[in-house]
Structures are given as C-alpha cells and as structure tokens.
C-alpha cells in the first residue's frame, strides 16, 4: 500500500505528496507499538484460550486435547468456587470501604478554606505508590500472632490474649479486605477530588444564598452531581479488586487451608506452584480458570458499564466526531 502511494505521488501536487509522506510516517510511528502489541499481547491472549482446551504440564508439546474437560472440572471444583467467592468478597469489600471512605475524605479535603490540603492529600495517597508485595509482607508481620497490632491491643487492655488475625479463616479475609481498602483508598480519593473540583463554585454559592446548610448542600448539590464520576470510580475499583494477587500471595498465601485463596492466586498455584496446585503443574487447567476470570471481569465491566454510563459513551462519541471535524478543516 505504501509503495503504490509512493509511485503515484510523482504526478500529484506538492500538497498531496506531503500528505502521502505524512501517511507513511504515521504508519512508521505506529509500527513499533503494533508489532509489540501483536507479539506480546494479542498472541498471549489468543494462546491463553487455546491452552485451556488442553491437559498440559507446561513441558513438551501441546498434544493432549481434552475439549471442555478443564472447564467442567473447574465448575465442579469446590476449591475453585471458594476462590471465586473470596474474590467477590474482596472486590465488594474493598469497593465499599475504599470508595466510600475515600468519598468522605475527599469531601473534607475539598473544603476551600482548609489549610495544608496538599500535605493531607499526600499522606493519604502515600500507600498507593508503595509496592503491594512489600506491604503484604510488612502487614503480615504487623498482624501476626505476636505482631505489633496484637501487642498494642493487649497493652491497652482491649484484649486478653492475641487474636489469630491471619490464621482464622474469617478474620483473614476481613484483614485482607481492610488492607486492600487502605492501600487503594488514596487513588479513589484523588478520583473523587477530581469530580468535586469539576462542580462549579456558583452552585455552592447559590445553595448558600438559598440558606442550605452543609448536609443539605451535600445531599442536593454535591452528591447528585457526582453520580456520573461515581460510576467510573466504582467500576475502576471493582475491576482492580480482581487483581488481588500481590497482596494475597505475600500476606496469607491463600491460607489458612485455601480460605483466602482468590481466583488469581488459584490460577497461579495451578500454573506455577505444584505444591499448592494439585501436586502437579497444570497449565491448561490454570488457563481455563484464567479465561473464566477474564469473562467474569468482562461481565462486571459490561453490566456495570452499560447500566451506569451508557449515556456518557454516547456523549463521548459526539465529542470525538466534533474533534475530527475541526481537524479536517
């Protein structure tokens, strides 16, 4: 295509030559990203589906085609369903705590007259930038049976004997959710602040003139106007909750007895850790679980996306058309 353009460009005007040259350059600029994308993204995505139809230890050729047997086995596995349930608890828990808590903090920090806003914002944002795997290890020590947290509670006479935060199946899931929410709250806070700052000041002023107090303004002005961005923030939080691997792996490694094993840790255990998998590496089985996790993520995005910001997508399309029109001029 590029060649034919070159040969015909001889007998066209200068402007057209320039346009053709630009087109060629556009493809040259795009080429690295496209090549990298096909090799390291598209190919792995396709193969992750292909592997799921095979029984495969990861070594040797892919020749044991078993159709949907991996899926069948997954859907009848108690351990798989448990991991799905833990993931759902984690996703909902971190969204509720992380997004809800962040909204309260953002409303406080959005106050125009509040001093040292930037300082507080940095403090509450700090956990976001830290390495999750390292945080998991530190928290594992803090919430350990003889860890700092138990010592603190004993010192203040809140409890008599240490609580097994990470070795009790229910408590471990709760601690996981609390730490996950703490880690992600800062990013949600910044999202909410962006939303709050897009509300024009005049609306607050006129609410004040109408004699509306803090709560009335919050209920009738702030919250309704935050609705569109709320949908985006909740969706982002739900989707990021699906990737709990770094934290779970380092905090509890799925224990006690798989009680905190999330879906992504389940997949990792079958694919790369024969000990915590079924005693052998099963990459096909793990891939099938990966496909189910992918479809699960897709379903959340679609259901939530379509329900809450279908309108925005239409708006966005309108904007893009406008932009294109300006450029054509």
């Amino acid at each position: 295509m590029e060649l034919s353009q070159k040969s015909t460009s001889k007998d066209t005007s200068n402007l057209k030559t320039l346009q053709k040259r630009k087109t060629i350059w556009a493809y040259i600029f795009l080429a690295p990203q496209i090549i990298v994308f096909f090799i390291f993204s598209a190919y792995p995505i396709v193969m992750s589906y292909v592997y799921s139809f095979y029984e495969w230890s990861g070594i040797g050729p892919l020749n044991d085609f078993i159709g949907l047997a991996n899926y069948q086995q997954l859907l009848t596995s108690g351990r798989f369903w448990n991991s799905a349930l833990v993931s759902i608890y984690y996703i909902l828990g971190t969204t509720l705590l992380g997004v809800g808590g962040a909204l309260i903090l953002a409303i406080i920090l959005n106050d125009q007259k509040l001093k040292s806003k930037g300082f507080y914002r940095a403090i509450y944002f700090l956990p976001v930038v830290t390495t999750t795997a390292i945080v998991g290890i530190i928290m594992g020590s803090i919430f350990g049976i003889n860890g700092f947290f138990n010592q603190l509670l004993v010192d203040f006479n809140i409890i008599d004997k240490p609580i097994p935060w990470l070795t009790d199946p229910v408590l471990a899931v709760i601690i996981l959710i609390v730490i996950g929410s703490w880690k992600g709250l800062g990013i949600n806070m910044v999202y909410w602040l962006a939303g709050l700052q897009s509300i024009p000041n005049e609306l607050y002023e006129s609410a004040q003139l109408d004699g509306a107090g803090f709560w009335a303004t919050l209920r009738h002005v702030t919250l309704p106007l935050l609705k569109p961005i709320a949908a985006v923030i909740i969706l982002l939080s739900l989707v990021s909750g699906i990737n709990a691997f770094d934290l779970v792996k380092t905090l509890t490694n799925g224990g006690p007895n798989f009680a905190t094993e999330t879906m992504d840790l389940f997949i990792y255990n079958y694919a790369f850790s024969s000990q915590l998998g079924g005693g052998q590496v099963r990459m096909g089985y793990a891939s099938a679980a990966g496909v189910l996790l992918g479809l699960f993520t897709f379903a959340i995005s679609m259901v939530f996306g379509a329900a809450s910001f279908g309108k925005q997508i239409i708006k966005l399309k309108g904007n893009k058309k406008k932009k294109g029109g300006v450029k054509a001029l």
Partner: protein, 276 residues
C-alpha cells in the same frame, strides 16, 4: 462549607491523628529495621530502638543481596519507562496529529483493547520469553513488562498533540522540516508534561510489579527484583525480622521519595485519567 472555628480545629485534629495511623506501618517498618532481632520481639509497641542498628542495612545490602535486587529493579524500571514513553508518544502522535487512512479503525482497536477479556496471559508470555531465549537475561522481564498497549498513555499523548495549534508544524514545514524532525525537535519537547506524567506513573507501577518478575525469575534468582527478592527472603530467613524490615525499607524508600518530590505530576495524571 464548614464555618465555625472549633469545627475547623476538630477537622485538623482528626485528619492529623488519622493520618499518623494511616502511615504508621511505614514508620514502624523504618524503626523496626534499626532494632536487633531480639529487640524486635521483646520491645512490644515501643517504637524507638535502644541503639540504632545501622549494620542491618549493610547486612541486607550485601549478605542478603538486596544490592543485586536493587540494581535489577533500577535497570528493569528505567528500561521499561523509556520503552513505554517511546511507544506511546509515537503512537499518540500518529493518532492525535496526523490524518491518514485507517486511523479510525486503529483508534477503535486501541479503545477496544481495554474491554477484551484477557485470559491468564502470563503463561503464554512465560513460554514466549523462554522460546525467544530471553529467559536468562533481564531483557525478558523488561520486554514482558513493557509490552502491551498502554492505552491510557496513548490517549494522553494523542489528546495533547491534537490540541496543539496547527501553526506549529506549518512553520516548521515551511522551513523544510520532515515529520520525524518535527516530532523529535518540536513536538516531543512540547509534550514534556505528558512525558513526565507517563514516566512517573510507569516508574511507580514497574517498581512495584510483582507477578511478571516473579514468574520470569522462578529459576533465575540472580535476576530477581526487590519485590520478588523480598518474598524469597521472608521464606528463607523467616526469623530475621529486622533484616526483613531493612529490606522492605530499601525497597519502598526510593519510590516514596520520588512520589513526595513529584507528587503533583502523579496526582494530576491519576486525576486526568478518570476525567477522560
């Protein structure tokens, strides 16, 4: 919104106290790294160590090989950041600034990528890196980490370049500059704010990356990054608590310092992401 003075003071007290609790795990980490192991176990909730055990750091750095993990992480992170900036600025420029046939299709593909259900791509990626013979070098992890389409950064660059006035390249074109010259000499320097945001965000993500280096260094301990090395350290030396805290501090401090210095770019980038 809140007017009374006492309410104001209350808010500051709350924000400050809660803020201390919020970052206390990191404060605890730093001071624990300066205790002896015995003191770590027996000092209870006391924060400040009797004597500052600075040698914990030299032990972690040399004996536990955190120096190796540290430099691996630096090479891994810096290379990934550079590759991502090159790929997304080039793609963003083509999509945002140049009109060419097929642009719309590519644009739709870029957005669609976000919504494709990806399976567990680390398995094929692991196989691919091994098949390419990159499994014995840090290049394998770099390639795996920086691959893929960085949709957010591409869109950031595209909208930045699209909104620059047309006169900029018209002037350069009259001077006879080609597309590549205009891009490298004029456009890229103009887009420094986007480059900075991309660099900082990608730096923090890659520094914290865990699954990719974990899987790709399974049989190559000498290629481990800080996060992976740390996980291995805890499994090997389960009772060296202050060593653990020292290693964790070495791992987290660089990224925290960069965040504190550059927080404006980072927070603006994140906020910009949700707005678009």
């Amino acid at each position: 919104m809140i007017t009374t003075k006492s309410a104001r003071v209350m808010i500051h007290v709350f924000l400050l106290l809660f803020g201390i609790v919020w970052i206390y795990p990191f404060v605890w980490m730093v001071f624990s790294s300066l205790k002896t192991n015995k003191e770590f176990l027996t000092s209870g909730t006391k924060l400040i160590p009797e004597d500052f055990q600075w040698q914990n750091y030299s032990e972690a750095w040399i004996t536990a090989n955190f120096s190796g993990y540290f430099w691996n992480t630096v090479i891994f992170t810096v290379s990934t950041v550079i590759i991502v900036i090159v790929l997304s600025s080039l793609t963003g420029y083509a999509l945002g600034r140049i009109d060419f046939p097929g642009k719309k299709t590519i644009m739709i593909c870029v957005v669609a990528i976000m919504f494709i259900p990806k399976g567990y791509t680390i398995i094929p990626l692991f196989k691919l890196v091994n098949a390419m013979g990159l499994d014995n070098s840090i290049l394998g992890i770099i390639v795996a980490e920086s691959s893929g389409a960085h949709v957010l950064f591409i869109l950031m660059f595209a909208s930045f370049f699209a909104n620059l006035p047309k006169s900029i390249e018209e002037a350069a074109e009259i001077d006879g500059a080609g597309v590549l010259t205009i891009f490298t000499k004029v456009m890229l320097p103009l887009s420094m704010p986007i480059v900075a945001t991309t660099a900082i965000m990608q730096f923090i993500w890659t520094w914290s990356s865990f699954l990719v280096p974990l899987v790709l260094t399974i049989s190559k301990p000498e290629l481990r990054t800080l996060a992976v090395g740390m996980e291995n350290f805890v499994q090997t030396y389960a009772v060296d608590f202050s060593g653990m805290a020292a290693g964790a501090t070495i791992s987290l401090l660089p990224v925290m310092i960069i965040f504190i210095i550059m927080q404006r770019y980072f927070i603006e980038g994140v906020a910009g992401a949700v707005k678009s």
